[in-house]
């Protein structure tokens, strides 16, 4: 059993569990699934700075912070105790295209060429952590939700605005991965 759990999980298993998060949160406390809001609650908690957008009682949304701390703990548990002993399988075509762009490490979930501590104060760090992270935080709030809030919760409740948002997430991603990313990686 534990051997089976240690293998990478099938997309249908992962998708089903993620989908079941929607009714689980509804049934245990009438909560609507969404993750990017946690970033807003952190702003409201730590640095509201009299900005109207952050002037609300964040304690009422504390469940969301418990949820994301859980996600972090889940990451620790899965990696420490249930980790896959083999290297990650990546599509050959993706490997080939990324190799051509200078990525050399395909052994882990994240390439060490980019996601290593040494890169924090370099140009790579500026693009992949600082600018990338900023766009994620700014964009999700501007859109009013992220993949969980819009693509999963929003589509589950048949919301047209969520479909529009999801299409824009994908459009931005296609542009970024195929056009921007090669340009950025050529800088190094």
């Amino acid at each position: 059993m534990i051997e089976l759990i240690k293998q990478p999980w099938h997309w249908a298993v992962a998708g089903a569990i993620i989908g079941l998060t929607v009714p689980t949160l509804l049934l245990i406390g009438n909560k609507k699934f969404g993750i990017s809001s946690s970033l807003r609650h952190i702003c409201a908690m730590c640095l509201p700075a009299n900005i109207p957008f952050f002037k609300y009682d964040w304690k009422k949304e504390i469940w969301n912070l418990f949820f994301v701390v859980g996600v972090l703990l889940g990451g620790i548990i899965a990696t420490q105790f249930l980790s896959n002993p083999d290297t990650i399988v990546i599509a050959d075509s993706t490997k080939a295209s990324l190799s051509a762009l200078g990525i050399t490490d395909f052994s882990n979930l994240m390439p060490s060429d980019l996601f290593s501590v040494e890169n924090i104060f370099t140009l790579k760090g500026l693009f992949f952590f600082v600018i990338g992270g900023f766009l994620v935080g700014f964009g999700t709030r501007y859109a009013g939700g992220c993949t969980s809030g819009h693509a999963i919760m929003g589509l589950s409740t048949l919301q047209m605005p969520s479909l529009i948002a999801t299409c824009c997430f994908m459009a931005g991603g296609f542009f970024s991965a195929n056009i921007l990313l090669p340009l950025i990686l050529k800088l190094f």
Partner: protein
């Protein structure tokens, strides 16, 4: 009255405002911690947190992420349909209400901006937390930057087209 205003503010650009009618003791929040843990485990075990999976998805070179998101949406839809059809209540007997989202240009502009960031970082907000837990501590910088992005959005919100 003050509470009402707080709720209205909270509702801006939020997917949801969770104003429960029934108040629970603080330890009830541990339920969400447990659901979060399960969620984080799935993220790591299905390798959804991998930067490579996101590249595969946006390069149309693997079906995996489409399978995950597609299945999640179908399961979510069916669950919501069942809850509505049978008027299923929460554990504490509350009625589950769904609100319609209104359209704003933010869903287009913000959506595109987030998409660009998603492909660069290889993470949407959920996987960010799981990546840090998974030992990629450097993603902590991405996380802080995402909080900063949210804050800057809040600061300029009134000036942006909606």
């Amino acid at each position: 009255m003050e509470n009402k205003q707080s709720i209205e503010t909270r509702h801006q650009d939020a997917m949801c405002t969770n104003e429960a009618e029934v108040q629970h003791p603080f330890w009830h929040n541990l339920k969400y911690l447990v659901v979060g843990i399960a969620f984080g485990i799935v993220f790591v075990k299905a390798e959804i947190i991998s930067w490579f999976r996101i590249q595969e998805m946006f390069r149309l070179q693997s079906f995996f992420m489409y399978g995950v998101i597609g299945t999640a949406v179908v399961v979510g839809m069916l669950s919501v349909w069942l809850i509505k059809k049978y008027n299923i209540k929460t554990m504490s007997g509350e009625t589950i209400k769904f609100e319609d989202k209104t359209f704003s240009k933010g869903q287009i502009f913000g959506g595109l901006i987030f998409g660009i960031g998603w492909a660069i970082t290889g993470a949407c907000p959920g996987p960010l937390f799981a990546q840090i837990g998974s030992g990629f501590l450097v993603v902590g910088v991405t996380f802080l930057s995402a909080v900063a992005g949210t804050w800057v959005y809040g600061y300029f919100r009134e000036k942006l087209p909606h």
